[in-house]
Structures are given as C-alpha cells and as structure tokens.
Subunit: 354 residues, 4 copies
C-alpha cells in the first residue's frame, strides 16, 4: 500500500478547522493531520469550539481523536514532511503565508477568501495589503477556484486551491446549469435570498452570536454588501447589476438554504428544468437533484457533503424558484476542501467523505 499523504491544518481550532481535522483524521489516504495554530494565539483563547472544548481524556478512554494543537512554524511543517497545507485562517493570514508556502513547494487548499477573486473590483472589499505585490498578483492568477463540480480539470494539477465561500457554493451550484443552458432572462435580474446557521459567522463570541440574540430570532444582514457576492458574479460571469444576494442569520448551528429567483427567457416545463439540472450534474458525486415538486431542507444535507437542489416552476412556465441546501461546514468549507484534495491527488471524489 502507498504511503499516506502528510497534511497540516493551520487554524485547527475554528469551526471549519475542527471539522477538517475530524475528516482528515479518518480519511483512508492521509495520516492524522498536523494541527497548528498561529503562534500569536494562546491555546486556551482558541479552545472554545465544539471539539476543542473537550478536555484531554485520560488513558482508558481512547478515540476522542484530538491531537494537541501546536504553534505554527515553517520548520515544524518540514519536520513532519507536510506536503499539503490547509489554511483555515483569516484572509490576511492566508494572504501573508501563501507566497512562502508555495515557494517552499507546498500545495495549498485555502479556506479563506484570500485567493478566490481575480477581478480587482470584487477583491477590493477585502483590502489586502501584500508585502510583494507582484508575487501576490501572480499567485492570484495561478490560484484555482476550488469548486469541483465546475473546475475539476484545473483543480487536479493546482498548487493553490481557493476553497469557495459557503454561500457562494450554494448559489453557484444552483445557477450554473441554468446559465450554462442559456435559459435565464438576465435582464429581469436574479435574486438569491440565502439563510445560514450561526457557525457560518465564526467562533468569535460577539453580541451578535450570543445565544439570547440568536434564539427565537431571524434577521437579514450585509444587504447589497456581502463579500461572497463577488465570488458568485465572477464565477458565473454575471454583471453586478443583475444579482441581488441577501444573507440572513438562522437560529440553528449549521446549514445553508438559498432560495433563488430566476426568470426564464421562454416558457418551459418542469421536465425541461429537471433535465437541465440532471444533465449538468450527471456523474457528479456530491450534488443531488430533488424530483419536483419535492424540495430540499436543511436537515437533509446537514452533516453530509451534499449540495441538494430542487425547484418549483410557476404555471406560466417563466418564473422559477430554485432551492439549494448544503452544510456550511462540509460542502461549504471542510468537506469541499477534502473533495479538492481528492482531486489534487487523483483519488475518488468521495474518499473520506461518506
């Protein structure tokens, strides 16, 4: 049997990092990942996630599977012979570390927004400050947007994979087949009314993530201003005036549902829409198409790597509502990162994700 891949996860104490550590820990083709934190962080300061709050279990109870989280350094990566580095870090940290990591010959799957956008107009919102602008520009060009259902050919050989945003994944996968088929009346605009569980807002305790603020509540936020808008526009080659993307905060720990409104160029039947989706995702392992009129719900894809798609077509055959669901920590982050790794190393796309 072949030697197993050596991986590391930097930012292993955030929600996505923890989920990634868990997935890699049981992946049949990787060794237990090296878990790292940025040196500036105290171990306790970070240890308030789901799993990280679990104390060190003494001897008899085996199997909690949480290796200690070590401070990051290039030498610790070298010592462990790490080949693939996952970054579950803030955007600025990814932007800073990736140039050297690439120079050192590491392959990267970056879960942050640092390398997703090629168009300056969308990237501006992040306000990146690069030490070496030219290197950054070159890497921005080389980075591959890691949405396996659309970009598998380019992901396979990539050195730097920019793992997509959770909202963006749910919207792009719903719209790609329709836009590709040329049936969308773009003049009338596209609307994605998206709703996410709280883990999407990160582990930082704030007034906004306090239990009493979230429970029994529901709210819209970042209307006309969410960063994932740029990803959707760029990946789908849309013009900004034609999309409205509105995120909302759901009182649940995990899961995204996007309700997407599209007008069709001509009158169509439900069967035609169904075929359009089926044909596009034929042989795609992690997209499920629901037969109309059934619709996906957040529970169906929770704790899985699926993106579930369903739709309703109005009786006039022109107004289409698409519902897209996924687990923001899996298909929206750590699961998709593992799916990208599987492509990068030529493994089955489902390896370690079932």
């Amino acid at each position: 049997m072949a030697a197993k891949l050596k991986t590391a996860v930097l930012g292993a104490t955030g929600y996505s990092g923890l989920e990634l550590a868990r997935l890699l820990g049981r992946h049949p083709r990787t060794d237990a990942p090296l878990l790292l934190r940025r040196s500036a962080e105290t171990e306790t300061g970070e240890s308030d996630g789901h799993g990280a709050r679990l104390p060190h279990i003494s001897g008899n109870g085996r199997g909690n599977g949480h290796s200690p989280v070590q401070p990051f350094s290039w030498s610790v990566l070298e010592q462990h012979g790490v080949e693939l580095l996952f970054l579950a870090t803030p955007h600025a940290v990814s932007r800073e570390l990736v140039p050297e990591a690439i120079a050192r010959g590491l392959r990267i799957v970056d879960l942050s927004g640092a390398w997703r956008l090629k168009q300056e107009q969308h990237r501006a919102v992040y306000g990146f400050k690069d030490a070496n602008a030219q290197t950054a520009a070159e890497l921005t060009e080389r980075a591959v947007y890691g949405l396996p259902e659309l970009n598998s050919d380019r992901i396979s050989p990539a050195a730097l994979v920019a793992n997509p945003g959770c909202y963006a994944t749910s919207v792009i996968l719903a719209l790609a087949p329709l836009l590709s088929a040329g049936i969308v009346d773009c003049d009338r605009g596209i609307i994605s009314d998206s709703k996410s569980g709280v883990s999407g807002a990160g582990k930082e305790p704030t007034a906004r993530t306090h239990f009493v603020s979230v429970a029994d509540n529901f709210s819209a936020y970042s209307v006309f201003g969410h960063r994932h808008t740029g990803e959707i526009l760029e990946q789908l080659a849309l013009n900004s005036c034609q999309l409205i993307f509105t995120p909302h905060l759901l009182p649940i720990p995990r899961g995204i549902l996007s309700t997407i409104y599209v007008y069709l160029k001509r009158e169509m039947t439900a069967d035609e829409i169904q075929s359009c989706l089926h044909d596009f995702y034929n042989r795609k392992r992690w997209v499920r198409i629901f037969p109309a009129p059934s619709l996906p719900e957040i529970q169906f894809s929770a704790h899985t790597n699926y993106c579930d798609l369903g739709f309703c077509l109005a009786r006039d055959g022109r107004r289409l509502v698409v519902v897209s669901c996924l687990d923001n920590l899996l298909k929206g982050a750590a699961g998709q990162a593992v799916q990208n790794m599987n492509l990068m190393y030529g493994w089955d796309e489902a390896e370690g994700l079932q």
Copy 2:
C-alpha cells in the same frame, strides 16, 4: 363609567384564540370574554396550546386568567349578551356561522380566511361550500378587509371584519406605501421571500410540526401556491404574474420576517424612500419605520403589536430590499383583531395592546 363590551371568542384553544383571550382579558373596555369551542370538539382534544395546557390552579393562586371553555351555542351567546364575536375557527366553520351571526345582529371579527377575498379567482383555492349562495355572496361584498392602516374608515362601521392573514399583513404593509407612491417598476416583478415561526402552522401535531422535524431545520413550502398570495394581490391591486410569494418555516415559535424585492421606476435616494414610508404611516400607531441602514429583526416586534419596516437601497438607486417583521399571533392575528375592535367601537387604536 360606561358599561364594558361583551365579547366572545369561538376557537379559544388554538394559538390565536388563546392570545385573543389573553388580550381581551386585560382590555380596559371589555369584560372578560366568553370562551367557546365548537361543540364537536372535546375540551381535552383542544387543550394542548400554550396556556390551555396549564391545569386549573387551585384556590390560593389567583390570576392565571383562564376561564373554562364552553361549548358554542347561539343561546349561550344570547344569555351572556354578547355583542362582538371573534371567530378563531377554521375557514369552513366561519363561512357556515357568519350568516346567522349577522342575522342575529352580532358584529364579527373573523380571524380565518373565510371572508377576506372578493375576487373569485383567489377565493377558489378555499373551495367554500355555502348553504345559501346568495347570502354568502352578499356578505362577501359587505365584509371589510381588516387592515387598520389601510381601511380604518371602512372598518369603523363594519358588521363583518375579515382579519388579514399574518403573511399578508407583513407584505401588504411593506408594499402599500411604495405602490401608492407609484415608484415601483411592476414590469420587473415583486418578490416576497417570507419566513414564519411554527405557531403560524397551527396547533395540530403533525410530522411537519414535530420538534425533531423543525429544530435545526429550515424549509420552503407552498411555493407558488400559498393562500395568502390572493390577499396580497387583491389588496394591492396587483396582477398575479408580477408577484412571487415564497413562505418558509423557521425553527422558532413565533414571528414573521418578509424580505421583499422591488425594482424602482427611477433612480432614488434612501432619504426619498424613508420619506415615502414615513409619510404614508404618519400617525399610524402600530407601524414603526427603521432608519436606514438599520433593519428590523424578529425579536424586536415579538410579543408586540408592531409591524416593523426597514429597507436597503442598492447603490444604483434602483434595487430596493424592504424587510418587514411582525408577531404572527399579534399584529398577524389576535393583536390586529383587537385593533379592529378598537376602531369598530371608536376607541384609541392602542387600547389594550400596550
């Protein structure tokens, strides 16, 4: 001091009925309401709502305020001298009882959908079967749609007030000022992506309302087919092809948030939109306008009779997102019913609702 109004609530054990009983029980101008159930219902069969599950508290503990619920009959109404009858009953029951109630000289506030729709095309979905078609047709004409912010003049003298649907209230109050000002580009369509807490689905225990089905979940339902669509179209004089209304089920007990998408005929400023809303609801006691860019959230109007409105305008000045929140059991049902009663009897609109 004037004698207090005698009221009765039929269907006093459902969520809306219970809330209504509670409001009337502390209203300064009404006697404790007579609480009634349809005779076919067993008391226990109905007694599983919030308050109704509360057992009869023995002597010392005063103040739980739940009078016994009696079987309905015309004679019990007469004995108690009831003048105003609230119907918190299924549509068919309201449709059956109202003709005789009106004939007996009672005034009615009906919380069901029985008398809300004048246009046959929207009413058809209910499938009413009237014993006397002509009387039903006449009453349908006479019934006043009980949305106080729009129809107060006609509510005041009305014998039969059709209390609006909860979703419909949230959408109509958001759109009325914009449509009235003539600034909406109707050709591009209007979309209301609405989300409701579970009490809106009624007290009936079903697979859909089971805690395990709802918690950690979120789902769309009745896409292109919800009954409240007709109310919105009819009240706002919209053409059916121009509105998409999509309800969703939130994992919370109560509250509605509608995210409403509108395109404007011309480029406008946020100040103009703000003025439009303010001017329309000037001196309206139960609508609050949030100053942009702040937006209402479900918690802000929960347990109150407010409908809260806020909005975001895109930088292009043409795409507008309006957010409308209310408590589905109060402004969306029992609170609005009391507001209607206040108008019908010439009292302050806020009486008993603060």
Copy 3:
C-alpha cells in the same frame, strides 16, 4: 391623583435592567424611569441587549418606549428628584455606591448579590473590598432580603432591599413551606437540581454563551460552588452539609426549573403536602400551587411574575419531588424588584405586573 414616584435604573442595558425599564415604563404609579449607565461604559458597548439593540425609531413610530440611557452621576439623580434607585449593576458597583446613596436619603432595590448575605461564611465568596468597613457592616445588617412571600413586613419600611438571586428564589419558595412545617428529614439531605435559560448567565458574549456552544447542548456547572447556595442556606437556616445545589444551562433564552428532592420525617399523603403548600402561600399573589399530579413547566411562568410549584410523592409517602418554575428575569429579578417596590410604597403587590 397622587404624584407619581420618581425612579432610576442604573445598569439599564443588561437583561434585568432592560426588563425593569420596561416594567417601570408601564407601571401606573411611577413616572418613566431615569435610565442610567455607569460613566465608564460607552453607550454602544452596552447596547447589545434585547431592547437596546433596537435603533432609535424616528418620529412617526411612537411607542418603542426606550428613553436614552444617560451616564450616572449623583447630580443627575438629584435633578430628576429620584426617590427610589434600582441597581442592576455588578456586585462590586452596588457595594461601592450604596453607602452614599443611603446617606443621600435614597431608597434602594439592589438586584446584585452585594447585600443579600449576612453570614460572613457565605459572603466571603464574593470577595467584597469595602472602602469603609464599618458602614458596610452596618448596611449589611440593615439590608432586607427582598423575598416578598417571606419578608413582606420587613420590606415595607426598608431603605435597602437586596433583591434575591433567581435560582435562590426558585429553591427557597419551594422549600420554605416544608421546612416551616417541620416535615423534612434533614439528616438525609436536600438536593436541588436546577436548570436555567441563558439570560441568567448575563449579556457578556463569551465562548460559553455563543449560540453554537449552547444550542443542542446541556451542561452542569459550578457544582458545589454556586454563589446562590449561600442565600438558600441562610434564608432557610439550613446547615451547609445538608444541601446540594447543582445549576445547569438550558438551551433557551429564559426560565428556571428546579427539581428538588426531599425526604420526609414520616409517611405522608399527597393531600397533606398540597395543604402544606396552600396554607403557607394562602393570599400570596405571585405563587401558584399546581394540583398533583400536574407539574409546572417553564413555558407556564415565562413572561410572568409567577413562581409555580408542583410536586410528586412516592408511593412510600416518604420521598418527595418538588418542581419549582419561574422566569429568571421577572420573578427571578426585575419582576420581584417591582413587587418589592410595591411593598415599600404600600401599593398592591400586583401593581404593574399583570
């Protein structure tokens, strides 16, 4: 009509302070309260509670009822002619301010733990550092533990009322009748297994109060070490070795349920227990006794000032389980504070609380 009482709430932006501001705002015998924050706090820093997150509603929408919160000073109290000061502040702040407040002739209801404990052994856990030890000692003696059902005679004339802790209220009200009747076998010990909603943990955003940490979770904390233990022991004159009090965190915003285990000295009947509770709380407005075998649930007393009591007796007539429920922000904090004010000014105990 008599002039209304002038009150102030210091700490008006915490959960209890907000609730208190709301109750006083609609109390028929008080003017709108003066809302204050400690000067060191920024207004925004504090403004993340339920109501405080509500933005300033512009002109037309009246009735949100949130006056601006001003910085605290003695002169602002004087200018407004405040007679009664509510402290919804941290323990140390109450300990610091009360001596001068009393010296200035104000009456005080303190919602913190600063003045609840007379016995040094229980007070030690707070680690108070008093500027003037003698004054502090005298005030500690003068302070009245503000549990109206037990201490109404002493509350009426008091200058300084120490409003009880939320857990302590639920446990003391359940045990007082049984201990008073002398039927408890103290040698076998008393256990209170208590569960509270998250608002009891305060408004501070922490890893522990993050939505993702609380939702779908349940946990015990401060076993053998919670500060309210001392209140229970002192008020019930128990010996510390005979009580185990275990708090737990419930994934709900508000409400406490205590399950209390008691062994009886002799075999008794359920009727005898029922009578014991009834007789003790005869004519007490805010305690409800549930008829066995029905038991209170958190929903029944949520959003009310009731403490609900119920019980189950084992067939052997010796083992008794008492269930006690209340709303931690009302009967457990702000509601009880208003109840104390009502007693202090000779008003009906229910005034402003229905």
Copy 4:
C-alpha cells in the same frame, strides 16, 4: 475476504431504526440491511423521520443510501438469507415476533423493552400479553441484557439480546463502578435527575412533541413512574426504595445528560473516585472518563457512540455528583445495538461505529 453478514431492521422508519439502517449501511462486515416495516403500516404513514422524509433521489445523485422499506414477512427474511434481525418495534410487537424468530434460528437484537426485565415486579408495568406463556418465560430467562461494558461474555453467544433503554444506559454505566467498589452509602438513597432530547420520545406527532410545546420549554415527566427505573434497579441489584429517577424533556433533538447524586460510605478523595472509574472501564472502548473537575456536556457525545462520565466531589469527601452523557439514538439505542452485534460475531467492538 469472508462473506458479509445478512441483517434486517424491522421498524426501519422510526428514529432508532433509521439510525440503525444508516450504521449498518456503512458497516464493513455487513451487507446493506434489509429494511422492513410491519405490514399494517403504510409506507407514507411511517415516512416522516429524519431521513425517511428524503424523497427518492433520481439517477444522477447517488449515495443517499435509503433502500426502499418493504413489508415484513418471514418469507422475505428467508429469501434474503437474513441471520441477524434487529427489532426497532413497539414492545408488544417484539414480544409477539421473537418466539417464532428464535424458533426459526435467527439471532435477535431487540431495541424495545420487551425482553429486558427478568423480575416480574418491574416487568408488570409493560402489561405483556403472551400467546404462549411458557415460551415467553423461557425466552425471558435466556435473553441477555445487552450492555456490553457489563455483560460482554454473555452477549457473545446470545441468541436474544435485549438492547438497554437510553436513560438506563446512562445511569447504569455511571453507577456500576461505584456500586461494584462498595463505596456507596445506599441508606441515604441515590438520585438520578436525567434529561433527554425529544427524539427519545419517539416519532409520533403529539401535543407533547409539537415544536411550540417543546421550544423555550423544559419539564419533568413520569416522576416515580418511568419504565427504565426497573432496568436500573434490576441491573444494579438495587432495592427500589433507594433510587429516585426523574426524567425531563430537553428542547433539543438528541442527547441525554444524567446528574446523579450519591453519598459515600467514607470520606474519599477525587483521585480515588477517578481511579475507581478508570479501573472499572479499563480497556472499554466506548466509555470516556473526564478528568475532574471537567464535566461532560451533551454536545461532546452527540453523534458518537460514547458514554461520557465525569464527577464532582464535595469538600467533605462524602457527597458525590456524577454526570453521565450519551447520544440517545447511538449509545442509547442503535449504536449500542451495533456494538452488541460486533460482540455476537466476534468483531472489534468499534467496527462500524467510528
């Protein structure tokens, strides 16, 4: 490689049955299980569980893993060559089917309460009506209580394994080490205050499981009368007067936490307690001991097969609080059933459960 085991799950649409179907579907040593329903049930009537609500996904989307559920018959079992039958059925159904199943040479893991109790005094509460009393009595004797940590030797060769109740598992695993060590002062009584998520109450939609009844609520039930009491007493050889077991309903989908109160015969140290637990569960794969003073929480064991144990000892060294957590659908039902299967077929206890 050896042929895989043929299994069937009867009652594959309830919460435990679904979880079992999922676990067996990915177990490396079993074929995909045959999923069965009792013939009297309609497929739709049963199809409202988590996974069963998922519609049949059409062609492209592989991997939802839900085989169709077929009506039960002995011949379908034979056709498929089933060797091991899991019963996730009501008690009475298990009681009825097991005699014939055993006669036909099948091995059984029964998740109901039908065969757990040998002592008539505890079994009476179920009111079993057996067609053949003698056979039933013999099988009752032969049945092995399937708690692997206590009974592995007897489970291995068993034909009929009675899978323990979820509450009972959490309490027995916490108390067994202490009772075995002889350190519990039984004269002072043992109390288990236990809390369970709603899936423990089953999939039947009732007033009690309605979302609005459960959310923001918490309640005790079946005080002094829950069926699992008998299991605890019988397995731990306790006398009924010495245990109080109080179940409560938590507003979460899954998970159990038991807070267990024990008095010790002599003053002990935390280290002694820790050793007592460690030694007892030495080499037990699915019990984790938390180092004092850390305590398990429901989230830590959710979605795993672990039973987590932690404790606090009072300063007097005599009063002990043990906290025990598990997932009621895994270690409390389906996971434990798989663990039992692993023992029955000589496989590693962790197979298919990681």
